[in-house]
């Protein structure tokens, strides 16, 4: 039981680290939120599952938190992306591959 919990926590920590690395390495906001949203969602999910294995008293609360996180984190990324798009929508949609060509103007 304990080892399963620690295993999940390790997985969660790894994915959270990858999310941070992704945000650091990606060139512009849309790609950063690609990396950030996905990896951090699974990372936090795995962390919460791991904690609920370690302490079964609070497991139902943690599962509720995980469900809430599953729905709220895509919405957050959607809002960030929409704001970015609003800022330079014409540019992003007209050119077929605009983000790599003029990366420095998209921050």
């Amino acid at each position: 039981m304990q080892y399963v919990g620690w295993f999940f926590i390790l997985v969660g920590a790894t994915f959270s680290f990858l999310a941070g690395l992704g945000i650091f390495r990606m060139p512009d906001i849309l790609n950063q939120s690609q990396a950030g949203t996905k990896a951090s969602t699974l990372g936090i999910l795995a962390l919460l599952v791991g904690f609920s294995f370690l302490n079964t008293q609070v497991a139902p609360k943690l599962i509720l938190m995980a469900l809430f996180f599953l729905f709220s984190s895509p919405i957050a990324s959607y809002t960030i992306c929409k704001a970015t798009l609003r800022r330079n929508k014409a540019k992003l949609l007209l050119d077929s591959n605009p983000l790599l060509k003029e990366g420095e103007q998209n921050d």
């Binding site: 994915f15 990858l18 690395l21 992704g22 390495r25 990606m26 060139p27 512009d28 849309l30 790609n31 939120s33 690609q34 990396a35 949203t37 996905k38 990896a39 969602t41 699974l42 999910l45 008293q57 609070v58 497991a59 139902p60 609360k61 599962i63 509720l64 729905f71 895509p74 919405i75 990324s77 959607y78 992306c81 929409k82 970015t84 798009l85 992003l92 949609l93 077929s96 591959n97 983000l99 790599l100």
Partner: protein
């Protein structure tokens, strides 16, 4: 009646999860509270669609497919992030959806965000703008929606 029952059961489940080591007192208080809230919802929300048991099955199926896709998406993203050359070629695609209800559209956009390599950046009536991180590899734009549209259509319509 089935709407009332569904509201009552889901409210009571959330209450149980929040106050988990249950005492008798808490069970009684929670069920009374859930009953009252379910009554109020029943009175004030008359035009709500009738809840179907079938859609519960499809929502469960959606959840399982969703978790599998989430794990695939993470492995894919981990591969991209760790590769030293950073193999990305971002592009934005437009995709039409057939879903009608707002809830279903929101869920579809959410699940596109968490599937491999794609993220939904804007939702305009029935058009979803999808940002793809490896845009050079996309052959089939409809395929970006993944398996979710069919399941959600069954669940909500």
């Amino acid at each position: 009646m089935i709407n009332f029952l569904f509201t009552f059961v889901s409210l009571f489940l959330v209450w149980t999860a929040l106050s988990y080591p249950l005492t008798n007192q808490e069970i009684i208080f929670g069920s009374v509270l859930s009953f009252l809230i379910a009554m109020l919802v029943q009175i004030y929300n008359k035009e709500a669609k009738r809840f179907k048991v079938k859609s519960l099955y499809y929502l469960l199926k959606y959840f399982v497919v969703f978790l599998v896709e989430l794990i695939k998406a993470n492995l894919n993203m981990a591969r991209i992030v760790v590769t030293p050359k950073l193999p990305i070629s971002p592009k934005i695609y437009e995709v039409k959806t057939e879903l009608k209800s707002n809830m279903a559209k929101a869920l579809l956009a959410n699940s596109i965000t968490l599937t491999p390599g794609t993220i939904s950046v804007d939702l305009d009536d029935d058009t979803i703008y999808i940002h793809v991180v490896e845009g050079a590899n996309v052959n089939d734009v409809e395929g970006l929606k993944g398996p979710f549209e069919k399941i959600l259509k069954e669940a909500f319509e």
